[in-house]
C-alpha cells in the first residue's frame, strides 16, 4: 500500500478515499461528507469536521477532515482512531516517515488478511510543506444535475464464456470492450479525481445482475457500458450511443406531478433519463472529436443493463465488428486509446467546472 502524504499547516494528511480504497473498502465523496465502507462497517465523516458517525458509535478525530485541491484528506495521526473505532481494525504503525523519505516496510498485521494481499505495505511519503489552508466548503461551487458525478461505473460488455460478437478477423467484442474500458479507467485516474469502478477487469464471466448490483452497491453516478456494434450490412460503420428512455412509470409520475405538484418529491427514472440523454450527447461530441469517426448517432433504447443499474447511464458501441476496415482500425491500440480518451473527455465535460476541482474538462 502506497499513500502520498501532504503537509497542511504542519500536519501530515493522506487522501481518505485512497486510504479506504487501498484497505479494500469503498468510499463515496459528497460535497459535505464522505461515506466509507470497510470490513462490513460503514462510517460517515463530515468534511471540515472532526465528527465521525458510525452505526455503532460516534466519535471525534483530533484533526478535521479537510478538502484540499479536490481531494478529501485525513490527518495521518487520525488513521488509527478511524480504523479502531470506525472499523474495528488497527494499524500497528501508520507509516509516517520523515519528510522526503519512504519507508513502510512494516506489515499491517491487524488489517484482515482478505483486505491486503501478502506483501502489501503501507508506505506514506511526504510532499510539499508549503501548502495554504484549504478553502472553506461554502465558497466552493457544488455540482448539480448532470454535473454531480463523482463515481463512474465502467462496464466492459460480455466476457468469459460470453465473447459477444467475434469478427471474421477474430477480434471478439469482449476483448475490445475490455481494452477500451481499461484504457478509460487509466485515463480517468490520471486526469481526473473521479472514482471509477470496473464491472470486470479481466476475461471473466459477470452476469448482468452482478454488474448492476455492483453499480448500485458503490452508488455510482454514471454507468458507462462499452460494447461493439454489429450489422447485417457489411458497409455499416461508426459508433453509436444509447440511453434508456423514460419508463412508463416515470411518465405517469411526471403527468401526476404536473397535475398535483408536491405529490411526488422525486422522479428518479425521469431524472436519470434526462441526465443519460445529456451524457450521451456529451460523449457523442467528445468521442467524434477524439477518434475522428464521422458516422455516429445517439438513440433512446430501453437497454436492460442501463435500466437495472438505476442511475444515469449510456451504452457506447465503439464501432462495427462486421465491417472489415473498421475492425482493423478497432484492433489497433491507438484507436482504442482515442475512443477511451473521447469517453473520458465527455465525462469530464459533463462534470465541467463544478464540484470536483482537478477534473480537466
Amino acid at each position: 500500500m502506497r499513500l502520498r502524504a501532504v503537509d497542511v499547516q504542519g500536519v501530515p494528511h493522506v487522501s481518505l478515499p485512497e486510504f479506504i480504497d487501498q484497505c479494500g473498502g469503498y468510499c463515496r465523496v459528497d460535497p459535505a461528507r464522505v461515506s466509507a465502507d470497510l470490513f462490513g462497517r460503514s462510517v460517515v465523516v463530515g468534511v471540515n469536521d472532526t465528527k465521525v458517525y458510525s452505526s455503532r458509535e460516534s466519535f471525534a478525530l483530533a484533526h478535521p477532515v479537510i478538502r484540499h485541491r479536490g481531494e478529501v484528506l485525513i490527518a495521518v495521526d487520525d488513521l488509527d482512531v478511524l480504523l479502531a473505532q470506525g472499523f474495528a481494525a488497527r494499524i500497528k504503525r501508520p507509516g509516517v516517515v520523515p519528510e522526503g523519505r519512504e519507508t513502510g516496510q512494516e506489515p499491517l498485521p491487524d488489517i484482515p488478511d482478505e483486505a491486503l494481499s501478502p506483501g502489501r505495505r503501507l508506505t506514506v511519503s511526504t510532499e510539499s510543506t508549503d501548502i495554504p489552508a484549504p478553502e472553506p466548503l461554502n465558497t466552493r461551487r457544488v455540482g448539480t444535475g448532470a454535473a454531480a458525478i463523482q463515481t463512474v461505473i465502467i462496464d466492459p460488455g460480455h466476457g468469459g464464456s460470453d465473447p459477444g460478437y467475434v469478427s471474421a478477423a477474430g477480434l471478439s467484442e469482449k476483448d475490445l470492450s475490455l481494452a477500451v474500458a481499461l484504457a478509460l479507467r487509466r485515463i480517468l485516474k490520471e486526469t481526473t479525481v473521479l472514482k471509477s469502478y470496473l464491472t470486470r477487469s479481466d476475461d471473466s464471466t459477470v452476469s448482468p445482475r452482478d454488474r448492476s448490483n455492483l453499480a448500485r452497491r458503490v452508488r455510482g453516478d454514471l454507468f458507462v457500458s462499452i460494447h461493439a456494434a454489429v450489422s447485417m450490412s457489411e458497409t455499416a460503420e461508426g459508433f453509436g450511443i444509447y440511453y434508456a428512455p423514460s419508463t412508463a412509470r416515470a411518465e405517469v409520475m411526471s403527468r401526476i406531478r404536473r397535475r398535483r405538484p408536491g405529490l411526488f418529491f422525486t422522479n428518479t427514472d425521469r431524472d436519470n433519463h434526462a441526465r443519460s440523454m445529456r451524457a450521451a450527447r456529451a460523449l457523442e461530441t467528445s468521442i467524434a472529436a477524439a477518434s475522428g469517426v464521422s458516422e455516429h448517432w445517439v438513440r433512446g433504447v430501453p437497454v436492460a443493463i442501463l435500466r437495472d443499474a438505476g442511475m444515469p447511464g449510456v451504452l457506447v458501441e465503439v464501432g462495427h465488428l462486421t465491417n472489415p476496415a473498421e475492425t482493423a482500425l478497432l484492433e489497433s491500440r491507438s484507436q482504442q486509446e482515442k475512443i477511451a480518451r473521447g469517453i473520458a473527455e465527455g465525462i469530464a465535460a459533463m462534470v465541467g467546472d463544478v464540484a470536483m476541482p482537478g477534473v480537466q474538462p
Partner: protein
C-alpha cells in the same frame, strides 16, 4: 382475571387485528398503484368518476372493409443505424390482427433492393394476439440450431424491435373490428425473451413505436 380485564384484552386483540388488516390492505393498495404505474396507467385518473372520462374513444376514420392499401414496412437502412420505410401495396381487411400478421410475413420475407432485413433468421412467428387495450403480443419461436449464429448488439436488436413495432402500429394496418395497436410485447416460445436468450434490450415490457429510428424517405410520408 376479572371480566373487565378480559374485555380489555379482547379489545386490544381486536384493535391489533384491525390494525394489521388495515396495514395489509394498505400494502395491497400500494402494490396495485405501483403495478398500474408500471404499466403506464394513471391511478388518479382511474379513481375519477366515469363521467369525467370521455365516454368513448374518438371515432376511427372510416375504413374500407376490404381492399388494398399502401403500407410501410420498416427495414434497416444500409448505414446500419436507422430504419428505412419501404412502401408496399397490401391486401387489408377489417381485422388489425390479420393485417399485422400479413405485415409480419412481408417483413420476414425481406426488403427490396435498398434495405437490409430486420427480422433475425433464427425467429419465426408462432402466434399473434391483440389485447383489448391495444397491446399486440407476438410470440416467436426459435429455429433449432440458429443460436450460435445469432448476431447481437443494441443496434441490431433495436432495428428488429422498432422495425416490427413501427410497422405494426401504423394506421394503415388498423381495422375497425379490432382495437388500435398501440404497443407490442415480444415473447419467445411463450416467455419474455430475456428468459430464453440474453438480449441487450429490455423486452420485459411492451414497446411503443419510435419514429426517431426512421430515415426520412419519399415513402415515409405515406402513413405513420
Amino acid at each position: 382475571m376479572n371480566r373487565a380485564d378480559r374485555r380489555g384484552i379482547l379489545k386490544t386483540f381486536l384493535l391489533s387485528l384491525w390494525g394489521m388488516a388495515t396495514m395489509v390492505l394498505l400494502f395491497v393498495v400500494i402494490l396495485l398503484v405501483m403495478e398500474m404505474m408500471r404499466q403506464g396507467q394513471d391511478p388518479l385518473r382511474t379513481l375519477r368518476p366515469a363521467s369525467a372520462q370521455p365516454a368513448t374513444p374518438p371515432p376511427a376514420p372510416p375504413l374500407p372493409a376490404l381492399g388494398t392499401r399502401d403500407v410501410l414496412l420498416y427495414f434497416a437502412a444500409k448505414n446500419g443505424h436507422a430504419l428505412r420505410p419501404e412502401r408496399r401495396e397490401m391486401e387489408v381487411s377489417d381485422s388489425s390482427h390479420e393485417n399485422c400478421l400479413r405485415a409480419l410475413e412481408a417483413l420476414a420475407q425481406g426488403p427490396g433492393e435498398e434495405g437490409v432485413p430486420v427480422m433475425p433468421g433464427e425467429l419465426k412467428v408462432r402466434a399473434l394476439y391483440l389485447l383489448e387495450d391495444g397491446e399486440m403480443v407476438i410470440d416467436f419461436s426459435r429455429r433449432a440450431g440458429t443460436v450460435q449464429r445469432r448476431m447481437r448488439s443494441v443496434g441490431i436488436e433495436a432495428l428488429f424491435v422498432y422495425g416490427v413495432v413501427n410497422t405494426l402500429t401504423q394506421s394503415a394496418l388498423q381495422g375497425s373490428k379490432d382495437p388500435t395497436v398501440r404497443r407490442v410485447r415480444f415473447l419467445i416460445d411463450g416467455l419474455p425473451p430475456q428468459d430464453s436468450l440474453p438480449w441487450h434490450i429490455d423486452l420485459r415490457e411492451p414497446i411503443a413505436p419510435d419514429q426517431s429510428w426512421a430515415e426520412q424517405t419519399p415513402d415515409s410520408g405515406a402513413h405513420g
